[in-house]
Amino acid sequence: MAQLLSSPSDLQAARVPRLDKLGIIIAVLVLAAVFFLPFVISRPNRIVAGMALPISGALPALQAIVLYGLIALGSVIGLLRVPSLWRLASSFVVVLSLCLFLGGAANFLTPEGNTVARVSPGAGFWVLVFAFALIAADALVRLRLGPLARIGVLLLVAAAIAAMLWAGVWQNLSILKEYANRGAAFWAEARTHVALAFGSLAVATVIGVPVGILCYRRSSVRAALLPVLNMVQTIPSIALFGLLIAPLAWLAANVPGASAVGISGIGTAPAMIALFAYSLLPIVSNTVIGLDGVDASVKDAARGMGMTDNQVLFGVELPLAFPVILTGIRIVLVQNIGLATIAALIGGGGFGVFVFQGIGQTAMDLVLLGAVPTVALAFVAAVVLDALVELVSPKRVPSA
């Protein structure tokens, strides 16, 4: 703050620190979450209606007071214009405590030896985590961490979550009880989910980049193809998944060998094809935009010095377009991790299986077992690929 103390008004501001705008919004959110939303929902078994409990009802008195105190302290630090590192550290501590005390509440509310009682995180918990995660994210942005540092923070968070899982902090929490009943299925669906998201991305990249190069070189191909891909993107996802059922079922029934290689109206094949169809436009169009964006004088010099078309493409145009192409891949990956959830509707598997089973059984805990890993996976993919894009982009050096 020292460098800010240059004018009289700044001096006043230093005595009474000014408030942070985001901090005010978050303080309001926190107040609402603490006083009007349940911290946990406690139910005698997994499908009956439950009891909504605030922090004071979900934890022993002393623990509740500690948690209230930490939340209050975190909100105040969020409100003040203190250095970003403080805000990051305090919001980190609050989120960590919320997670630990959530597990504590589940232990506290579950009678010894009872395996049917369910304690789930309530809306209040989610809003509080969201609010403090926002402060942390805001602080991270203001700290302007480099790409490697951001991946470092991500690893740290992942390690903290893994440690809490391993230590059994949440063993009495509903979502982990659902997991305990479905361990093998969970990992099988996780593999399917990752295979769907990454597999469709890989195929779309292998096909989309060459198609993008073709569109870049031949304006006739570009004019014909891009509108079609654009239209595919506008088809609602469930409709697209559904639309593929009939033709693929016909293929399976009428083309010898088709069903032998896994083609059928429902299952992984149509899910893969639908995800691939959604992936194509971002990859093709980012390839075209990236190649178009290469400085014309650079292309001209490359040709003028005697590079062949392929040498210009692989030596100059593609390397310079690569950050933009990678941005397209990032868009597709995050999009596909989310969309792959819908594959479960047509028997394609993935985390969506738990989401839709959970909806069918009105068991929200089961929905969470599918939704939480999906969100986490998409988040990790976004952070890692954003960092990669930044690493491969030309460093911005002020030119003289």
């Binding site: 400085d295 004088s297 650079v298 001209d300 010099a301 490359a302 040709r303 003028g304 010095m305 005697g306 590079m307 062949t308 040498q311 100059v316 390397p319 310079l320 030309p394 460093k395 050096v397 030119s399 003289a400």
Partner: protein, 311 residues
């Protein structure tokens, strides 16, 4: 030697270069000058086939340029453009080594050539070889662009407004450097510019273009003295003609024996500089020195006579 014969380029209905014929002798600097859109760039790009002619031929040392693949032709011809076109993802050294690498030179030979060129362009190899182009100033980037064009020791160098983006002081330095390098290697240079001043400074021959047609192809002195058309006359600027004429020769060419009062000027300066000095200091004669030794004088009356229209 470059022989351009009946060269024509037509885009749909418009003829951009119209039956241009000219011969550029070995070791000459041919400057193509004209207003923007007159077809200078197109004419130059037909020499290395970045633009394929609609009609006409280009022969280099008697060989038709179409008798080999375009990319092989281009590797024999240096190419430098405005805004330099350096590869932003490659270091200065890699940029300069581009054509030698395409030609399959051995690595040590490329490295030696890169360092030689950097030194020639007054860039310390140890300091600049591994930098990215974005870490250089505009003038340095331009020098690397020319160094890259010269890397494979081409006999011919094509330059499209190579100094267009430089400020006046750096530009005149770059022009001097180019003249020195041309003298040293005897490279044949074809240079495009819209600036008549630059054309007169650099050109041993000037080709004046307008609306795709070659209006006049002659030495600078000839162009100033006997412009072929009104348009050429306008391009020279009638008010500047005597001074342009004087700028073509150095004091050394016209020094005469005798004494004169006051500070001496160097023999390597142009007659135009000497004339300006006479007027400014109010003297009728100025002593001339070469390497610090007085070698004679130059007189106002002689300069005035030289500035008159040649008969």
């Amino acid at each position: 030697m470059i022989e351009i014969d009946g060269l024509t380029k037509t885009y749909e209905a418009t003829t951009v270069v119209d039956h241009v014929s000219l011969t550029i002798e070995k070791g000459e600097i041919c400057v193509i000058v004209g207003t923007s859109g007159s077809g200078k760039t197109t004419l130059m790009r037909m020499i290395n086939r970045l633009v394929e002619p609609t009609a006409g031929t280009v022969r280099i040392d008697g060989r038709d340029t179409r008798d080999r693949p375009a990319h092989q032709l281009r590797r024999q011809i240096g190419y430098a453009i405005q805004g330099h076109g350096l590869f932003p993802h490659r270091t200065v050294g890699q940029n300069i080594g581009t054509v030698p690498r395409l030609l399959g030179w051995e690595k040590p030979r490329i490295a030696a050539r890169v360092d030689e060129l950097l030194s020639l362009f007054q860039l310390d190899p140890a300091l600049y070889r591994d930098r990215l182009p974005s870490e250089l100033s505009g003038g340095q980037q331009q020098r690397v662009g020319v160094a890259r064009a010269l890397a494979a020791e081409p006999d011919i160098l094509l330059m499209d407004e190579p100094f267009g983006a430089l400020d006046p002081i750096i530009r005149s330095k770059a022009q001097d450097d180019l003249l020195a390098i041309q003298k040293r290697f005897g490279t044949t240079i074809v240079l495009v510019t819209h600036d008549m001043e630059e054309a007169i400074t650099l050109g041993s021959k000037i080709a004046v273009m307008d609306k795709g047609k070659l209006l006049q192809y002659a030495t600078p002195a000839e162009i100033i003295a006997r412009p072929a058309t009104d348009f050429v006359n306008q391009l020279i600027g009638t008010g500047d003609r005597p001074f342009r004429l004087l700028s073509l020769e150095t004091v050394l060419d016209h020094v005469e024996p005798g004494e004169a009062a006051g500070d001496a000027i160097d023999a390597s300066l142009s007659l135009r500089d000497a004339y300006a000095e006479c007027l400014w200091s109010g003297r009728d004669a100025i002593p001339v020195e070469e390497a610090g030794q007085r070698i004679g004088r130059v007189t106002l009356s002689r300069l005035t006579a030289l500035a008159a229209r040649p008969q």
